[in-house]
């Protein structure tokens, strides 16, 4: 079995160059500032201070986290049942449904979000429909609702697929065993299915929460420019303000927050595993 370990080596080299080095460069920029003096890089905490001591920036951070959490929760609420239903189909049907769910994601995200801007407009499809019943027009676009809708729409397939993957390879004999031993469907679900599908849920959360926190395209398109997210600030620092140092610092702060949240989720995951085994 140990021979398989060697298979990791090529990737170790690759990831050092392609992942680690760029990150180090970012670290370098975050902790330094382009001084006017001879030394090009002056070590400083100034960039971090600037972000963390500013209430507006902290509010923006909070908003990004809030939206990401809401998006992730809704994705789980909608995604889990969907994955559950699909996982029960026949082998052929399963594959078909997986492709049906994944197909929308192959259509360019910007285009699909543009479509939503059309659908949600005051003179768009939904409001035109409501006007038949003399309701509205309800402001749908440029609201919290639109942003979360757009985010969920974008990330839902990923959540579904991850949970589905876990559910699908679950050993159904365990379920049967539980049933034989007298457990009702609810108990079977809670004690067997749910814990065993947790790895999938965790993967799903990773694929949704992380990009959601740093997303700026969708909030901008569906929420308008006043929907300032952390991603927006970073983008403006790198592009408009040209302050790569500040931008790198903010990215690091975000990365640390995310690392902490992933660490917490990992702990939860381990806990779940132990529970599952105890059955």
């Amino acid at each position: 079995m140990k021979q398989f370990r060697k298979m990791v080596y090529p990737y170790l080299v690759w990831s050092t160059i392609m992942i680690a080095v760029p990150m180090l460069l970012i670290l370098l920029y975050a902790f330094t500032t382009q001084g006017n003096t001879v030394t090009k890089f002056l070590f400083t905490f100034k960039n971090f201070k600037r972000f963390l001591t500013d209430t507006t920036f902290l509010n923006v951070l909070y908003t990004s986290l809030r939206i990401a959490v809401e998006t992730t929760l809704i994705c789980i609420i909608l995604g889990y049942p969907t994955a559950y239903v699909i996982a029960k189909f026949s082998e052929k049907a399963k594959l078909r449904w997986v492709l049906v769910i994944t197909l929308p994601t192959w259509i360019n995200m910007l285009v699909r979000t543009y479509a939503w801007t059309g659908i949600l407009q005051d003179d768009g499809v939904i409001n035109s429909f409501l006007s038949i019943f003399k309701i509205g027009p309800i402001p749908l676009i440029y609201t919290d609702f639109a942003v979360i809708l757009g985010m969920v729409y974008n990330f839902l397939p990923f959540m579904i697929i991850q949970i589905y993957t876990s559910l699908t390879k679950m050993d159904y004999s365990l379920k049967e065993a539980a049933n034989d031993l007298g457990a009702g469907p609810a108990k079977t679900f809670l004690k067997i299915t749910l814990p065993l599908s947790m790895p999938g849920v965790i993967s799903g959360i990773t694929l949704v929460f992380l990009p959601a926190v740093s997303s700026f395209c969708i909030p901008r398109m569906l929420g308008g420019g006043s929907y300032v997210m952390v991603g927006t600030i970073i983008e403006s620092q790198f592009l408009t303000a040209g302050d790569w140092n500040f931008g790198s610092a903010i990215s690091l702060i975000m990365a640390i927050i995310i690392m902490i949240s992933m660490y917490i989720t990992k702990k939860v995951d381990k806990g779940e595993k132990v529970e599952g085994a105890s059955v």
Binding site: G224, T232, T240, G242
Partner: protein, 354 residues
């Protein structure tokens, strides 16, 4: 099954390798310009005329373009905005243009060779204008009386009568320009008090007026009449006016931003000779006429301007088409690093203040 997969992969590699080796010995020209800013026929016609291949790359903001130039990407022709050209000249990214090679140079409208339009490059040593215009107020004449626009000018964007009915442009330069001009300051000011006053002006707008702060959604939005007021570029306004006859355009007396986008040749251009030919081609009469008809922005060719604004011309009666000239309160943006960073940060804060 495995063998088939391998064959497929090999085939793909071969395909991609073939596509990379480029096509033949034609001369190549690389241009880099904003999206939707050039007639679809211009490049193919140029390619046919000179038997060359043109690579077109698009950017959506001057800043993005700058990032790539700074990273060392090579192009033959760029089309940035005035303040960016000023910066590129300062930082020595551009080469001088040999005006003798630009045979159509004399057909450039005189207004562009004078202040304020030529301030970023007074003798056209480095640039040849491409499109020009102003920034102004576009309003729905049915819901916003002209008298109001005339008396309040930019302050109309703080007039709570129109709360919830305005678009605001999502760009810190353009956004800050509005209060700067409205309060009577220069839009290039470095005075901290003036900057803070402008900042508070914007916070006011964001907290009391419920604006929709977007960039190009404004164009379709106003064409569809979704809101009553917006800040737009004159070229976009010209398009909206031609689509929606209820709309009108106004350049305020407090002055506004006037701008020029111009063609420049970077120092590391591989084919400056062909670049000159291209620039000359673009400002020639037929090409410029087609270009302004397709894009909607004001042409730099004097004869073209006369043709399209003449009675029966495409832009006859379109008050957004021809930019205001010679108005001393109008300003061009300067390149100012301090201001750039300061405004960027303040704009984010103003937006987040809702």
């Amino acid at each position: 099954m495995k063998k088939k997969g391998l064959a497929l992969v090999l085939m793909l590699f071969v395909l991609s390798a073939l596509s990379l080796c480029g096509c033949g010995s034609k001369e190549k020209l690389k241009i880099y310009l904003p999206g939707e800013y050039m007639s679809d026929d211009l490049v193919p016609n140029f390619e046919k005329l000179y038997d060359v291949k043109v690579d077109v790359e698009l950017f959506d903001s001057n800043e993005m373009m700058y990032t790539k130039i700074m990273a060392g990407d090579t192009y033959d022709v760029l089309i940035p905005s005035d303040y960016m050209i000023e910066r590129l000249i300062k930082e020595d990214y551009l080469q001088k243009i040999d005006i003798s090679k630009i045979t159509n140079f004399s057909s450039i409208t005189p207004a562009l060779k004078e202040a304020p339009y030529n301030l970023f490059d007074p003798d056209n040593s480095y640039s040849v204008p491409y499109f020009w215009g102003t920034v102004g107020i576009i309003y729905n004449t049915k819901n916003v009386p002209f008298e109001k626009v005339q008396s309040e000018e930019f302050e109309i964007f703080r007039d709570t009568d129109f709360a919830g009915k305005i678009y605001f442009y999502d760009s810190e330069r353009d956004a800050f320009m509005i209060p700067f001009k409205s309060l009577g300051y220069s839009m290039n000011t470095s005075n901290e008090d003036e900057i803070m006053e402008a900042y508070n002006w914007l916070v006011d707008v964001n907290t009391t007026m419920d604006p929709i702060t977007v960039t190009d959604d404004v164009i379709d939005g106003m064409a569809q009449g979704r809101k009553d007021l917006a800040i737009v570029y004159s070229g976009d306004a010209a398009y909206v006016l031609s689509e929606n006859e209820d709309m009108s355009y106004y350049t305020p007396s407090c002055g506004t931003n006037v701008w020029v986008d111009a063609m420049v040749i970077p120092k590391n251009a591989s084919n400056p000779d062909l670049a000159h030919k291209f620039i000359d081609y673009v400002i020639s009469y037929d090409v410029a006429l087609d270009n302004t008809e397709a894009v909607g922005y004001a042409s730099v060719n004097e004869d073209v301007l006369k043709t399209v604004t003449a009675p029966g011309g495409l832009y006859d009666g379109n008050e957004a088409y021809l930019p205001r000239t010679g108005y001393e309160k109008d300003e061009v943006f300067n390149d100012n690093e301090f201001l750039r960073k300061r405004l960027s940060e303040l704009w984010i804060k103003a937006k987040a203040a809702r």
